[in-house]
Amino acid sequence: MARSLGGARLEGWSLVSRRFVWVDLIRLAVGFGIPVTALGFLSGLTGWPLWWTAFGVVAAIGLTVLCFVPRRVRSIGYQLREDDLVFRRGVMFQRVVAVPYGRMQLIDVTRGPVLRAFGLSELRFVTAAATTAVVIPGLPEQEAQQLRDRLVAVAETRRVGL
């Protein structure tokens, strides 16, 4: 029996760029690198077993998460259906959300320094509900622009007030 959500009944997902794996790896490496280095430094300095244990635990978690990055990036997908946008993400914690185009408040396309280095953009589909959190990271710039224009155009024809 299939146990995961997996979007089995939903065919034809568009995925984010493979290059985004590197972006995610860099972000995680920085996020875990700083505490791991600090802990390693402290351990070497003091030689306390407690620090060494903390160092080991954090480093192990960091490495595990790093190994999962490619799968996690592959899990991010979206689908443009007739009247709504379906978005899914997550490996351990899976999430699928369907948002009608008419509910769009605004579309945000942002590019951080790391994303820009890889020629990628992040697209955010904002509704009145904060919980929808439709954030598509790692779209090639061109694709992000096109997707934004398309979403705006389609939302314009299906727009309803709050």
Binding site: M1, A2, R3, S4, L5, A8, R9, D83, D84, V86, M92, F93, Q94, R95, V96, V97, A98, V99, P100, G102, R103, T127, A128, A129, A130, T131, T132, R158, R159, V160, G161, L162
Partner: protein
């Protein structure tokens, strides 16, 4: 009178505004003074020097003593009064620079001396208009008018105007916002009490207190009935509904005093207070008196929650008007909020465990266009503080008119209490009103929800989706599909192992519970697809309705 303010010209707020706005600073200065001069005040009050025996010869270094010795007392007094005058002048300047304009299409506000700010709320974006009467302002016959818009932090706050002005403007703005032409006669048909008193004074005229008393004198001279004027002022002071002429509707619920007290007594904060007192009594008698600090903190926070709840329950009224649902509550400062139905995005009917023997329920909602939490002291999410099943029926009928009588009955009968059975077909596709078929959790979900797996579930009624929760503290969430922002399904590691999933209705933020955990995975996917489909249809139907209306 209010039309005079809504003529599309720029107007100033009431001349007493700086005094009320600056009041908080004066209180702060007084607080600092009192904190520093505590001993002196005690001395002065009791005529006896307070023991200042710290084992040091001579008096301890008192701030005032220090100033007197240095001959700086005059300087200090000058500085303090200088700051006060400065604040007053600043208040006056900011009042002079602050103007507002109410046109046919928008409400605008200009303010600021150095940083000019121009804020505009378009009539078609206005979500609600709210009149607040804080205690101090109430004494002066003033009130503030708050115009809420869909954006965050884009509210226009007209503080302060006279009570009669705010009431007239509230009606006018709501009417214009509702796309109706302001019917002049609608206003003139309802001569408000205190209309004569509320006539806007030209800026720079004599102080309003005098103007008001003069107006009163004129009034009494004209009518030869002084008593009447006083009674009117008293009415104005005590009236929970600000404008009886414009809103002749009566509250659909009335909370008896006994129930009000019962609901306050049987609440979590009170249980906390009782338990904390018992624990403290034990600790104190066993030589741990120092825990009094902890105890005090607990008492203070629980007490303030309790007090807040009491104030929100006192003189509570809810009624339907042409402009939306009108909620009023409070004893000293009465808050009136008008909430158009379209701002209600989710509704939760809840019953805390302690209320169960009495069959009491409370109703809370998620609202759109909400100012961020904390800033919205006047705004409330509670549409029924405490009521029986009949009250629940009435309030639900008022705030969810799309729910037919039959469906409403089904909701009250099998949604509030009751346990359902699992279904073969998705619950969100069976839109029958006669009975509610909840799709509940499978037996294996008992690992996650040992007590509630047979009750928690999802159902569909007409244009709504329902989530049912809890066996001890019962709750039922209702979501009108035309307001839903999306549908979602989620699954964590534990749920994956068990083949379960969480279904979520995405709505604007608020206190209502928006998900149900532990549905069968396949069922959850089915419900998700059906819900997404129904939300899509609701959005499309709304669009069609709007297009044909336009």
């Amino acid at each position: 009178m209010s039309e005079a303010l809504a003529d599309g010209q720029w107007h100033r707020l009431h001349p007493l505004t700086p005094l009320l706005r600056g009041g908080i600073f004066v209180i702060a200065v007084l607080g600092v003074l009192i904190a520093n001069l505590r001993d002196r005040i005690v001395e002065w009050l009791f005529g006896e020097a307070v023991e200042r025996d710290l084992g040091v010869p001579g008096p301890p270094p008192d701030f005032i003593d220090y100033l007197t010795r240095r001959g700086l007392l005059t300087v200090a007094i000058l500085v303090v009064s200088g700051v006060l005058v400065l604040l007053l002048v600043l208040g006056l300047v900011s009042w002079r620079m602050r103007t507002f304009r109410i046109g046919p299409d928008a409400v605008e506000e200009r303010s600021g001396l150095l940083n000019r700010r121009h804020r505009q709320a378009r009539m078609d974006r206005i979500q609600g208009v709210n009149v607040q009467r804080p205690f101090l302002a109430r004494l002066l016959g003033l009130a503030r008018l708050k115009i809420t818009t869909a954006g965050q932090d884009a509210d226009i706050d007209l503080a302060y105007l006279t009570t009669a002005q705010t009431e007239g403007l509230r009606l006018l703005v709501l009417q214009r916002a509702a796309g109706r032409r302001a019917e002049q006669d609608a206003l003139s048909l309802a001569p408000e009490p205190g209309a004569e008193q509320g006539r806007p004074e030209p800026p720079g005229a004599q102080s309003t207190a005098e103007a008001r008393s003069e107006a009163d004198r004129r009034l009494t001279a004209l009518r030869g009935a002084g008593r009447q004027a006083i009674a009117r002022r008293l009415d104005d002071f005590l009236a929970p509904e600000l404008d009886p002429g414009a809103a002749p509707v009566e509250s659909v619920v009335r909370i008896p005093v006994l129930r009000l007290l019962g609901a306050i007594v049987l609440s979590t904060p009170l249980v906390v207070i009782v338990v904390a007192t018992a624990v403290f009594a034990y600790l104190a008698t066993h030589g741990m008196l120092w825990t009094v600090f902890l105890y005090g903190t607990v008492m203070l926070s629980a007490g303030s929650i309790l007090l807040n709840r009491l104030i929100r329950t006192l003189r509570f009224s809810i009624a339907g008007t042409a402009q939306g649902i009108r909620i009023g509550f409070g004893l000293f400062s009465i808050v009136n909020d008008t909430l158009p139905e379209r701002r209600i995005h989710a509704v939760e009917v809840r019953q805390p465990l302690l209320w169960r023997p009495f069959g009491w329920w409370t109703i809370r909602v998620n609202k759109a266009g909400e100012a961020l939490a904390g800033s919205a002291q006047a705004s409330t999410n509670t549409l029924l503080p405490v009521g029986d099943r009949q009250d629940v029926r009435r309030v639900l009928g008022l705030i969810l008119p799309e729910l037919g009588a039959e469906a409403l009955e089904a909701v009250v009968r099998s949604g509030l209490p009751g346990r359902g059975t699992a279904l073969a077909a998705p619950a969100t596709t069976t839109a029958t009103a006669a009975r509610l078929d909840f799709r509940t959790l499978p037996r294996r979900a008992a690992v996650l929800r040992p007590f509630t797996w047979r009750r928690n579930g999802v159902a569909a009624v007409e244009a709504m989706v329902l989530l049912r929760h809890g066996i001890l503290a019962r709750s039922l969430s209702l979501f009108p599909l035309v307001r839903a922002q999306g549908a979602g399904v989620e699954q964590g590691v534990v749920q994956r192992v068990l083949g379960l999933a969480t279904l979520r209705v995405h709505v604007v933020a608020g206190p209502v519970r928006t998900w149900v955990t532990g549905l069968d995975r396949a069922a959850a996917m089915q419900e998700f697809s059906a819900l997404a489909e129904r939300v899509r249809e609701a959005v499309a139907a709304e669009r069609r309705g709007r297009d044909s209306a336009a």
